[in-house]
């Protein structure tokens, strides 16, 4: 799979995947990103 194909796959995967899986993933692996965005964007 080329880079373009990988990009399309990633976009498709994130669109399709259940929100709870994304939330669980971000909270465990990208918690810092989440906290910063939420504090700056007042989410």
């Amino acid at each position: 799979m080329g880079k373009e194909g990988l990009g399309r796959f990633i976009d498709h995967l994130i669109q399709e995947v259940d929100n709870s899986i994304v939330k669980e993933f971000v909270e465990s692996e990208l918690n810092k990103l989440l906290r910063v965005l939420e504090s700056y964007l007042k989410l």
Partner: protein
């Protein structure tokens, strides 16, 4: 308010764009929603002057009055070069006045982002205070936050691929499970039908 999210490649840009759209229902916007000062800076960066390249490498996401600019810099070295260009930009304070609050730098774990940013700031003679993986640039009142991507396990690639594999395995496992249940139910239905 504007947040600048710098990532290594276009694939990373696609991943974080999709993630933020999914989590916060952010909308994708044209570059021209940004203040002119930002557009002028971006247009002057080598490799971003062509419209086609800008579209490929930059995404602007909007939520209410806030924008997140995601830039796939074209690799690890181009990312550090971009950050250096940005911090040396003579009008960086204007960009901050126009709403820039924070720069988030996401690099593959094997590139050790904290040390890379630390040495970049030292080479530019920029004073900072450091806490919790974030550099606060006193002179500009700007925060640079470092995130190392990649999972911490023995078979980790220390790259974005870890995240994609993790999410894909969760997603496709649940579909496989659903298909198994469906198959079982259909099979039971067939057996029942044979008795009726």
């Amino acid at each position: 308010m504007i947040i600048l999210l710098l990532v290594e490649g276009v694939t990373d840009k696609i991943f974080y764009e999709a993630l933020l759209k999914k989590l916060y229902h952010m909308s994708k916007e044209d570059l021209y929603v940004l203040p002119n000062e930002f557009i002028r800076f971006i247009n002057n960066v080598k490799g971003l002057s062509r419209e086609e390249e800008r579209r490929r490498r930059i995404s602007i996401l909007k939520l209410k009055d806030n924008n997140v600019i995601i830039i796939g810099c074209g690799g690890f070295k181009p990312l550090t070069t971009f950050l250096g260009l940005f911090l040396k930009y003579e009008k960086v304070d204007v960009l901050i006045k126009k709403g820039l609050k924070c720069i988030i730098v996401i690099m593959d774990r094997d590139h050790n982002p904290v040390e890379v940013i630390r040495s970049k700031l030292a080479s530019l003679n920029i004073e900072y205070s450091f806490s919790n993986n974030s550099f606060y640039l006193k002179e500009h009142g700007l925060l640079i936050m470092c995130i190392a991507q990649g999972l911490l396990h023995s078979r980790s690639t220390d790259q974005l691929e870890d995240y994609v594999k993790y999410i894909a395995s969760k997603h496709y496992t649940s579909i496989a499970r659903a298909l198994q249940v469906l198959k079982r139910v259909l099979k039971e239905g067939l057996i029942l039908n044979n008795y009726l």
